[in-house]
Symmetry: C2
Subunit: 407 residues, 2 copies
């Protein structure tokens, strides 16, 4: 137990302890923080006193050094923070480093190295396939053999709260005319992101069993998508401008160590994948029981269940590195849109409105097929923690700003 009173069902309870980068009002410098209850702990300041051997990891005010330090450092720091919060003897020192969560400003917590986006929900891929390629099988022949993914733009990953400017681009009208202008089919994608800490060497694949040695933690991702731009550009080399204008992430990175109670068995794969992907007999499988909530202008529009994802993050990491590609601290890979089998579990508007053919009505009477200017999207998630607690992921929030006039 802790001298700090945190309700057992608090999303930032004592078993969670996610990391972020914060500053309090008027400060110019950001610091590394750990969210606990309704507070942020300035972990670098406390470490200077109580964990000097690791204090330098927090000097830059972001997670970059901690990520690169590797799993021994991650576990050491987490155990120390847990200890501080349990130890009455250090309460004074630690308490002085607590700041009310409601009063801090949060920024992008780490420098994104490479950003990869996967496509691991069978339900999402099937829905999209039906809409984008109505004359073919919805799943491409490779889909059940490998976790399909592609590289996205690391430089436009932004933290929750950043406005997303409606992108302009080329699209083909239903009449076949190619025009340029603001996207008319701006969408959200509810995803889960995995933050790589420890890097790897080029030429040395990272097997599934080494997943937790390389992946530091988990955040939420909204992979904003301009469906009209994407549909026109994506053959043959994949999504580009339809995605690269912005990708939003939650400001808190939940350590993998906080998710032990959320681990579970992923869906059965048929056909059984090749050995480097086949986790059937693994001691540690990486199905994760996160339940997500997607809210549009305050209204819950979807509750995607992450446990239904066909490919796990450990399989994705094994695939990503199977060709010898190396990892760097700060690599971010996202799951792809999380959609469950039920209509109310779809993680994008293009699925919820079935390509705009079945617009959704919100409780306030407004109608949406895609996002309108001023719309606010908030994605949240929780997972089971130990002893009946819950692990919250905070939120990734974004409001659509109108397209800019073109030069």
């Amino acid at each position: 137990m802790s001298w700090l009173e945190v309700p057992a069902d608090h999303p930032f309870g004592l078993h969670n302890l996610p990391y972020g980068s914060f500053r309090t009002g008027g400060e110019s410098r950001f610091r590394v923080g750990v969210a606990v209850g309704d507070h942020v702990l300035d972990v670098g300041t406390v470490a200077a006193d109580l964990l000097p051997a690791r204090a330098a990891l927090f000097d830059d005010g972001d997670l970059d050094r901690l990520l690169a330090a590797g799993p021994a450092a991650w576990h050491h720091v987490r155990a120390a923070v847990t200890g501080w919060l349990a130890d009455d003897g250090v309460r004074d020192v630690v308490e002085r480093a607590l700041h009310p969560l409601a009063l801090v400003e949060l920024r992008m917590p780490f420098s994104v190295a490479d950003f990869v986006d996967f496509y691991a929900s069978e339900h999402h891929a099937t829905n999209i396939g039906r809409m984008f390629r109505p004359d073919s099988e919805p799943l491409t022949p490779n889909w059940k053999h490998l976790p399909i993914g592609y590289h996205g733009r690391a430089g436009t990953v932004v933290v929750s709260g950043t406005s997303v400017i409606r992108p302009c681009g080329q699209r083909r009208t239903p009449e076949g005319e190619v025009v340029f202008g603001p996207s008319t089919r701006l969408d959200l994608e509810a995803e889960v992101g995995f933050v790589v800490g420890a890097g790897s060497t080029i030429g040395s694949p990272v097997p599934r069993a080494a997943f937790a040695d390389h992946v530091f933690g988990v955040c939420l991702v909204n992979d904003w998508s301009a469906r009209d731009l994407q549909a026109w550009e994506y053959v043959p080399l994949g999504p580009f401008l339809g995605k690269s204008f912005a990708t939003s992430v939650s400001p808190w990175v939940v350590p993998l160590a906080a998710l032990s109670a959320a681990r579970g068995t992923p869906p059965t794969r048929e056909p059984r994948p090749l050995p480097y992907l086949d986790d059937t007999d693994d001691d540690e499988q990486w199905g994760l029981d996160l339940t997500m909530q997607v809210r549009l202008n305050g209204h819950l529009v979807s509750s995607p269940p992450f446990r239904t994802m066909y490919w796990t993050a450990a399989q994705q990491l094994a695939h990503l590195t199977a060709n010898g590609a190396c990892l760097r601290p700060g690599d971010l890979f996202a799951s792809g849109t999380v959609s469950g089998p039920e209509p109310g579990q779809r993680g994008s508007l293009i699925e919820l409105s079935w390509g705009g053919k079945e617009p959704i009505e919100l409780p306030d009477g407004t109608i949406r097929s895609f996002l309108e200017d001023g719309d606010e999207v908030v994605i949240t998630a929780t997972a089971p923690g130990p002893d009946g607690t819950i692990v919250g992921f905070g939120e990734v929030r974004g409001t659509v700003a109108p397209a800019r006039e073109q030069p």
Copy 2:
């Protein structure tokens, strides 16, 4: 004229002055160098004496600070270096900072932020389309409307001279079986890379006319490709593991300012592209008259002409940012494989051997469809400089190392 004797036809003549990062034997620290003739000028050391206002740009021993400093700094430093080499009064200081090019070690000259690869050769795209999609039109309907591109893996961009380990991965055999193992169709791609210096703001597209305000210079790129992995994985989200194992770049970045005499009119585009891409009436078009040479084990196998590229780098940059995506210093975007209309101008083995159906015979009697272990690929290029001089790009060199045993 200069006190330093450099032949007028030297690829690193006095009008070129490309930048790299070098160290001499036994040194631990790398420094910023400018290649001039058969020497490398330690520009930071000279700047400390003769250009103190800019000397800090070279403190890290790579190009990162110079790139970020923007065009005024680029022109200031370039003018200064040119001046030093012409001024007998500073000869002593400058001469002491010259190192024989043959004796230096070169590393990756800048930190790659995002890496984008385009697909801008009509001849290459047509050839690939015929081979990958024999039942469709070779060019997809979007190809002449926009410069197709995708994001690649920045973390596996390596400098010339780095061995390239044959990647493993999934492929589908002609019999339809899905297997995992070393790529059997490892290829090269001869490309030209554009290095972004000055960044831009999210939401603010960079028009063609601002190209030279953002792009610092040009290097050579070998975008190694595992065609068997690529063919199996690339539908629907584009190339991923077939490319991400390694991309090699030349160690010298030729400043855009050195290429004024190489500028020219790009091919006529039909249909005329949308206004943000239409350079027909531009004062400054960015067709570039580079001639490339691709050598395999010392034998010239292709001479791709860059001036035949359908889309220019200025159009690519305008497209890349048209959706509001921002640029960061160190962004690298490559042209896509450079192939001319003639068979001897094709910039990849899959084209030269027509998918392996017409293997090429090298002058030493060896036969190649794709790369074998131990093969060495060297790509070079030259462009016209002012007053009949030539501008050389050095080389991007790589040798294929055998696949590693899998974990």
